[in-house]
Symmetry: C2
Subunit: 206 residues, 2 copies
């Protein structure tokens, strides 16, 4: 079984890398699909699950865990249910066969399945450029606002990871391959990453 997990700094191109890697390997890539399945299972709106899962949840849920006997979570048990459902669905998807899973601490959640764990990162100018290139809307964010957003989202990833593991989010020891995408087009790097992934799996699980 070849399970590949992608963790990444916000705007480093990790999502694109994961999708292209899955395409190159001819296997499915799970990203927003997980949210959709959770929403369906829990009878919740997709956007609401995404909101719970990616925004508020990270910091609020951490507080809930820390103070669970003192301060009830403002949204009751729903964040915990959504996290649990996410993990169950990730495990089910992974059990179905080879795949790439993006984000959501899949490297930790699926540890027992011996995934190949990739971390994608980039320097600040590259992340800024990537954000600007994909930004839409009438009022584009300033560089300062984008930088703040990048830091905030990465901070949430760190907090979210701390719920499940002692291993550090930005520590290379937590991963099998760490890819710096600064100044490079993701698509040019993917064939070699696919080759590396195949070589890594030749030995079997870690």
């Amino acid at each position: 079984m070849k399970i590949i997990t992608i963790s990444r700094e916000f705007a480093s191109g990790g999502r694109e890398l994961g999708k292209r890697l899955a395409d190159a390997m001819g296997i499915p890539c799970y990203d927003h699909e997980i949210i959709e399945l959770v929403a369906k299972q829990q009878g919740l709106d997709k956007n609401y699950v995404e909101y719970l899962s990616e925004q508020d949840l990270h910091s609020f849920y951490a507080k809930t865990i820390a103070h669970r006997f003192l301060i009830p979570h403002p949204m009751g048990q729903q964040p915990a249910k959504v996290i649990t459902a996410e993990h169950e669905i990730m495990k089910k998807l992974a059990m179905q066969g080879d795949c790439v899973i993006i984000g959501r601490c899949a490297d930790v959640i699926l540890r027992e399945m011996h995934p190949f764990d990739i971390f994608v990162y980039a320097d600040e100018p590259s992340k800024l450029e990537r954000c600007k290139a994909r930004e839409q809307g009438d009022r584009p964010l300033s560089d300062k606002e984008i930088r703040k957003r990048i830091k905030q989202i990465d901070k949430e990833c760190i907090a979210y990871r701390k719920l499940f593991t002692e291993t550090d989010w930005a520590d290379m020891a937590s991963y099998h391959l760490c890819v710096n995408t600064s100044g490079r087009e993701i698509k040019t790097l993917v064939p070699a990453i696919a080759a590396y992934t195949a070589a890594w799996f030749q030995k079997g699980g870690a």
Copy 2:
């Protein structure tokens, strides 16, 4: 110009990876050759240069820099001369054409030549195993002694690096690709790393 630098944790297989990568790319690999050239240039014994360069130098020279007006280096100016000669020789070798350079903070020293910087690391059991496999002599070191040696040498690398740069030795941001060799044979990983290196250089320097 394709300059590839290899930084690595002790016993992670970085040296083997660098040599095999150079072979795969059909370019020279510089490692002990640098010591030999320095010894020749400075009229010193090769083993003495290696001793200065890899053992005592790291910690003693750091102290010398910190206290250079207070405590003279026990070996006078020789460590500084050896370091300077090493850097000059590394630059000369890199100017001659594509190559792989192992260790010696080549990523920092050759920054202006836009090298592709690889960091090689592994978990402790893998490093222990690698040390034992290559160990020679009548009295093999105990696991505890090997672990201590691994930590000591890595500590010296960190100290040595601090002489030249603010960037951290074990921080992925300092490198373009970080390769975890735990539980894997180096030779199985090298073709894909060579492919990645080639893809990275297609864009030109960073």
